[in-house]
Symmetry: C2
Subunit: 332 residues, 2 copies
């Protein structure tokens, strides 16, 4: 019989299709077409084409002036970085001027690299830059919320194949975020505990869905994973906001993130995926019930009418089997 | 400058990328591979293969015993139709046995037909059957919520190409549904009005996003459409539940549904799409603030990390332009 599991943190019910479940190796796709060459003349993110992007806002490189990572405003920004946050309300219509920030973090000069194939120290440098840009975006008083994310492959919504992550800072708080904060707040009021801390403890005790466990982080497939190989990286230290991450934690996180992406790459033939950093603002650092984390969503299946119409999910994999599969997949 | 619009009913913010917006005709895909022949020997839904599906639970046909529409349990059901609704709660883990109902409505014997190409009277018959199955599913005391939906094409999650819709009845109320009911309730308490009725009035007065307006229904692109050509069909008479639909309303709805699907088919080269019926239960018929409707979501773009991480959307079309384009697209 199928089993419905409640994802306590996202508040979504997931149908775990036990009998219909495919084995982990069935999700192994045929290797997708990825860039072969490490340089593409026409690519605006490849070295030599720096004038094809807006001027960089941040950069790390070597003494000879060669950059390793560049951060530039998105040339086709979803939100404008100039203007006032003007709200308009006419009857049932609520509008806000589209001001905010949309940055591209060009992760490497190499056109054909990606985090699954990077050295952990390279990923560590990226996380440092995420922290820098996260803090910087919140200095803008027009910014209410910041999302850092990565789209890998066409199914994950990439339009440019050169390895990059993105930051979007919005002038409104997303309702989804507020809803989850509310749920976490009620949980805290009812139990005196942070929901994420409790889920972390439960996953650690159970162990069957754990992929990596270390001093500062736990990487696991959630009990009610929304889709096959949906993976969470939770910091063990309670903190509402990513901005409090310490040096040793950044180093540890880089091993988790690079490691799990490498396992997905190797185990499932480099699947398309998104990853997303979910965090409160720096000024909510003292919050007791919010807890930042990183979510990785391989794009192995498609959402259909049922998911759209209900907000529920049908997961055709067993989280425990997927975790076992990733545990036994070597990193390199 | 881009504009953020709040979708009052789904409670999602949408970035309307004004400068980046593509023109309506830019969403015209290359014609996708659709079935050519009206019969496929290997198709379990084609006539002659009735023994390849579980026994039918409902059927309409002619005096010679030829069926026009068949309803069968899904052979690979997401939920089991036998068993008890057993809830289990262990620490942070909430589970429910996966009992419920999963039916397939085989819309026609013809393998290559689809609602965009059907006679409106055929769509009318389908809506009658939706009503029948909707009411029937709620007779089961284990059922808490019913979703009726259609997946058209691979991007919309179809696995079998023979034209069909589906019904899934779940033993839990989806959190997404509850959240929207709560928002509608607060709106009602604040204003004394149904939110859907108010949005309907506003769209009628404005007119710029209307596709069809008739005695009983309004078809329009919402002010804060979540994605290009996202379309809503609202019943003008306030009713919380689809189960109260009358004969004249069914006839009128069939013209709207078939008409707008035909316009999408013709105007955008038969795009993949989902449609979903959003409705309260029959026993909530007296509810003042819930209002059923039908949502059509063409799958013209992909959600990426930003949408996943925020629950916000970036719409690269202008709802007003899309509506104008569909208004001027002939039905046949």
């Amino acid at each position: 019989m199928p089993e419905l599991r409640l994802n306590l943190i996202t508040r979504e019910w997931v149908i775990i299709a036990k009998e219909r479940a495919r084995r982990p190796e069935d999700f192994k796709g045929i290797p997708l077409r990825r860039p072969q060459a490490d340089y593409l003349k026409a690519c605006p993110f490849c070295p030599g084409n720096e004038d094809k992007t807006p001027p960089e806002v941040f950069c790390v490189g070597d003494a000879e002036g060669r950059w390793r990572v560049r951060v530039v405003p998105n040339k086709f920004a979803a939100l404008s970085d100039t203007g006032e946050v003007k709200r308009t309300r006419v009857g049932v219509k609520n509008m806000v001027a589209g001001v905010g920030r949309h940055e591209v973090i060009i992760e490497t000069p190499l056109h054909n690299l990606n985090p699954a194939l990077m050295e952990p120290s390279h990923v560590e440098e990226l996380i440092h830059i995420y922290k820098n840009r996260f803090l910087d975006a919140y200095l803008d008083p027009r910014v209410e919320h910041v999302i850092i994310f990565r789209n890998h492959g066409e199914r994950a919504g990439t339009s440019l194949e050169h390895p990059h992550s993105q930051l979007i800072a919005t002038p409104v708080v997303p309702v989804q975020f507020r809803d989850r904060v509310m749920a976490a707040m009620h949980y805290f009021d009812d139990t005196g505990e942070c929901m994420v801390c409790d889920v972390l403890k439960s996953e650690l005790e159970d162990g069957s869905r754990v992929i990596f466990d270390s001093e500062h982080f736990l990487t696991f497939i959630p009990f009610a994973a929304l889709s096959p190989f949906h993976t969470w990286i939770f910091p063990k230290r309670h903190s509402a906001t990513f901005s409090t991450i310490t040096e040793p934690e950044i180093k540890d996180l880089s091993l988790h993130l690079q490691g799990v992406l490498a396992k997905l790459h190797r185990g499932l033939n480099d699947p398309d995926y998104n990853f997303v950093l979910r965090s409160s603002r720096p000024k909510d650092a003292g919050n007791d019930y919010c807890h930042w984390y990183l979510s990785i969503i391989p794009r192995l299946t498609r959402t259909a009418g049922f998911e759209m119409g209900s907000g529920m999910y049908i997961n055709t994999s067993l989280p425990e089997e997927s975790a076992e599969f990733l545990r036994s997949t070597p990193i390199d």
